[in-house]
Symmetry: C2
Subunit: 348 residues, 2 copies
């Protein structure tokens, strides 16, 4: 049973029962929950109060509502990292724009909305006092700029028996323009000790939260070699799409194993992989058309995942492509070829 | 859009529109076909006349109705093999039981119904004149017994542009009791020249048929090293279930690529694999229960596919398990462990 606000959501054809409704509305979520025994989420921007009530009334809700609530609020996430000594960039939690001016010594920084930020939205860079007018006048986090060497992510799962398992660290490369993930590489190519540190950190975080389900932990590797936790996502995540084809267990299967109390599956990579997001090209709005599809389908180890969204718009996530190859150099060549060939435009 | 006679068919929750109806009935199939542009099948026991009419009226029907019709009738299949010099066991086509007695010199043999045989049903062994009374009194094929060393199968696909591609040869091991596939191994472990001969044969067959779609070719390797074609299935087949996890392209994706005119995908194996059918245990009828599931889910490289059928009965195909391992010895150990642990019984 799936609840989604979009009547044309891709999940509608692959669910036993499809409910259309606002997932941020208390009654909608609460009533939906009456139909099922176990409830999970695919996006954290959901009514956590309704989930908490369902949990109190005996439904199994994973990830647990308190975990969702903490992650929904960037200021709470940052406070959680600080309270438990998980390394993260320096920050100040503020209530309004005036408090930016009061912390002028803290600039340059990013200001991030405490709530409702998503995929690069709700973030503004405040370089100096001239930028304060661009700032948000609401509860938010000021985050010190970090000298980033690489952005990495790691998926970790914990089942209801407390078993924990991490996937391989991935390197994420973001679009400069839209701040969305452009592609990822797995393995990350980082030294083993860095990968082990990242894995230990991810396991420590999920254990401290006592969360059940899959958790994506996004991190920065700084230019001076330090790992800082950036943010968490308590659900299958863009940084794990490659696991569908490239790991013995996919992030989706791992999440289901975790919440159903099954043993967690092997997270070992079957082969080195890359994953590219298929984003709607700028300048195109309308019925989606995939240019170059036939060409990339000819390449061995290329797995095309289209989400079945009818309409494209600039930067909309329309699908992803996973690429497998034993040879990292050939993997990189295939990646470049796929990036070059496939475009999501609109029919005229 | 899917048409299936069973209101609880597993496909009902993974289709945009689900139609319940008799796939052997002309009107049902013809009317269903009006809703769609491209029609394919998942079982060959379907009304081919309706498909032919749909094809004549401009619908795309793959595999083509004449291919389905030939394969539906074992006597036509055997005649096709003979007419085109594809090696197959000696046979005689008969119309009734009396003709068994007329061919007493041909015994011992198997008698196979020309039509409606499936999964080992519709087959009887006629050793000598005493067995004639057990024979079918209808149109059928008498097939000479073959000294079988191994049973093998090969999947071959052909797209609408005539591009052809074969998967790796698999060895199939059948249950002695129920004649259903017990497990398969890929690669087969046969010498290269045998595998190449089998591949060439499969390609020659699909080319001669000019069939579009995926075709399973079951073959015997005789004790004196000859390959004989046993029978064809013009659809995704039990001998190809391992491809979901073990090949760069699954048999299902390959079939869709073929009928949509897309380039065929790489059929290379990602890793050696075994596949076990999960059959309902004898002695159990009722709501299915999977014993040993948690234990096998702990094994790396074990992929469990349950078909979501509510009821089990003896020998019913309830699912399958694919096992991957680089090391053939460990693969065999995992196979034995999975076979030993997992059982489909019924709740009391």
């Amino acid at each position: 049973f799936v609840l989604d606000p979009d009547p044309d959501a891709p999940c509608k054809d692959v669910s036993s029962k499809f409910f259309i409704g606002d997932i941020t509305d208390f009654d909608t979520v609460y009533n939906f929950g009456q139909n099922v025994d176990v409830i999970t989420i695919e996006i954290e921007n959901v009514n956590a109060d309704a989930l908490e009530k369902l949990q109190q009334e005996g439904k199994q809700v994973f990830p647990q509502p308190d975990c969702i609530r903490m992650i929904q609020d960037k200021s709470k996430q940052k406070a959680f990292f600080r309270d438990h000594n998980f390394p993260t960039s320096d920050f100040i939690i503020i209530n309004n724009k005036n408090e930016i001016a009061e912390n002028i010594d803290f600039l340059p920084c990013f200001q991030k909305l405490s709530r409702a930020g998503y995929d690069g939205k709700g973030v503004v860079k405040i370089e100096n006092s001239n930028d304060i007018s661009k700032g948000f006048d609401t509860h938010s986090v000021l985050e010190k700029l970090v000298d980033i060497q690489k952005e990495i992510a790691i998926l970790v799962a914990r089942n209801i028996h407390g078993e924990v398992s991490v996937f391989d660290v991935v390197e994420m490369v973001f679009h400069k323009e839209n701040n969305l993930l452009d592609y990822l590489m797995c393995p990350s190519g980082l030294p083993n000790e860095i990968m082990e540190e990242a894995s230990s950190l991810a396991m420590a975080i999920i254990n401290k939260m006592e969360m059940v389900g899959i958790l994506a932990v996004e991190m920065f590797l700084t230019k001076d070699g330090k790992i800082l936790v950036n943010e968490l996502a308590p659900r299958p995540h863009n940084s794990g799409h490659h696991t569908i084809n490239a790991s013995f267990t996919s992030q989706y299967e791992q999440h289901l194993r975790a919440i159903f109390g099954l043993p967690l599956g092997s997270t070992k990579s079957i082969m080195p992989s890359a994953m590219i997001n298929l984003l709607g090209e700028t300048g195109y709005n309308g019925i989606a058309k995939y240019v170059g599809l036939e060409e990339i389908l000819k390449i061995e180890g290329v797995f095309v995942h289209l989400y079945g969204k009818k309409f494209t718009k600039p930067h909309r996530k329309m699908g992803h492509v996973t690429i497998l190859d034993e040879n990292p150099l050939i993997l990189r060549q295939k990646l470049n070829k796929v990036k070059d060939k496939i475009k999501v435009i609109a029919t005229t």
